[in-house]
Symmetry: C2
Amino acid sequence: MHNLEVGRSATISDVARRAGVSTATVSRVISGSTTVRATTRAGVLAAVEALGYRPSGVARSLKLRTTHTLGLVVTDIANPYFPQIVRAVEDAALERGHTVLLCDSADDPSREETYLDLLIDRRVDGIVIASSGLQARHGDWLATRTVPVVLVNCTARGAALPAILSDNRAGGRLAAEHVLDLGHRRIGHISAPPRNAAAGDRVAGIQDAVDSGRYPGVELTVVEGDGQAEGAEAATLALLERAPGVTAILCYNDLTAVGALRTLRGLGRRVPEDVSVVGYDDIPLAAWMEPPITSVAQQTSAMGRWAVERLLERMAGEDEPGSDRRQLGERSENVVLLPVELCVRGSTGPPPWA
Amino acid sequence: MHNLEVGRSATISDVARRAGVSTATVSRVISGSTTVRATTRAGVLAAVEALGYRPSGVARSLKLRTTHTLGLVVTDIANPYFPQIVRAVEDAALERGHTVLLCDSADDPSREETYLDLLIDRRVDGIVIASSGLQARHGDWLATRTVPVVLVNCTARGAALPAILSDNRAGGRLAAEHVLDLGHRRIGHISAPPRNAAAGDRVAGIQDAVDSGRYPGVELTVVEGDGQAEGAEAATLALLERAPGVTAILCYNDLTAVGALRTLRGLGRRVPEDVSVVGYDDIPLAAWMEPPITSVAQQTSAMGRWAVERLLERMAGEDEPGSDRRQLGERSENVVLLPVELCVRGSTGPPPWA
DNA sequence: CTGAAAGCGCTAACAA
DNA sequence: TTGTTAGCGCTTTCAG
């Protein structure tokens, strides 16, 4: 009797031997090919069952030149914004039989680079990058690779990579108009480091609202935070020092808003009676705070799903003949802009004098 | 001139051809073997550079029978407790040159099963399972596989899989003693569904404190929540109905505490003046709430790190001869219990009459 | 110091 | 309907 070595998992040859057929036949049974006699099939299946055989994805990948694996690079999994994207990407990937190699760059560009190399080495079928601050050189480098890449809520300067973005500029404008409509005129903004592309767009949107001419006499003060609750506390203090009269603070994200809320409370300023606060991202946390935070919601899961679909579609496309279109300038359909929505909650209200 | 096909990445043969050597030599250079003449090495390196060659991890995995990939199964990535584990596991894995296949079972047992199969197929080197409710059948099944598995904060009834657990019973006791010491006597507990093993242990710990004899006249009421903020609202209402006089609520986790806080506030009950609330997990969120939530902290990152180390150590061990010890009953060193710590914050205080 | 050759586990012509 | 064979891209004896 032919025993398996201990610790080794069964191979297709083991199954073939046991079933008394060739490996080709086993392969046919596994892949569900119809050109197999029923009795043969049954025999193979019995052997598969008996041996607990599961085909090696590694061998299959080598042969088929596809790993059914997607790489997902995120800036910081600990930031509640990202798990939503991860979930969406994974859902979409799993539906199509793909798994996800998660790469949490932990806000470290060099780690991000390491991961990108690793993903290439692992021959993933595609890469989704949801990084708040993709380095320009990464973009250039990525554009030279053969693996399809799509960007989620970030852009690579220069390199024309397909991307799905949320309309950050509109989001900034929406937030600003909301407090301006409420009557606020001295407003502050706590932004994020400039390597974060979204930050700039949101500031631009806020500026759009200020410059629209619809709100005379607006004073806008911008300070830089770090997108974290802790960092936002110092930023809030700095803002209040530079512009003691602000009655509304627009925050780069919800975590920043949390920090602002805490700081304001510590200073004895009531929200929203004394100061209104607006967040961004509408993570679950926003609704849980006291007061619940008014926030700009992005279509996070749509973004993740779109990214995966785009990737798989692109992979399929590359099989087609004469598919050298990668060399052509990518067209504008490659960038999708998703609308945002303002969720008004308890952290905003009219200014004290209104 | 020998051109590469478009869209295909360079292989070791491409490099060999270009450098005018055999693939064996290229392989030696890549692996840093010293037995290569300097000039030859230089030539190979030049070819590697020119072609942008990166060795295929897939082919290497097939040959070397190791993928340098770990599977990580989590119950719900959207639950803020898990990203911390993910981060820790990934950190430890990356340090040792491994990548992580993330599997978010999204609280769906059948999806978890699908993922486990997928991980086996992908021939991951090991699997870390951080699932709140591992099914018994999964455990049995896992025990039959050759791939090393370690459990984080969960156990598989029957199957003797190595596990790292946080001392949930001690945590429950700690939380209970805290409010009992403050003078509370009518206390409530919002637990989690029984498939969650930790939930039972925490209840037991609370019961330990109650039964210790140190606190006479304690009344404990337990209701079941779902570990989510939303579900906790109904559970809090149910608790208050069954035991209107409770002055302290111990929660299964911080998310549950958030829900309790909101509900109490809605009812006009002040925290901690009227009712004290204790959370569990000490996720960042706990400190951000108003009032900040007193919570039991687990050593999350230590758990993730330990899991990976255990896995890799086990993988190394399997190469050794006569390593049939898997058949022997696993010994108790296979289960590690990590201590917990109580973080006292503003959500707990003496009962109203004290 | 270097090359030839075998083989990891699988699939896909091509024959039979 | 089934088997034979040739690789996928790499590493690793074993010769030279």
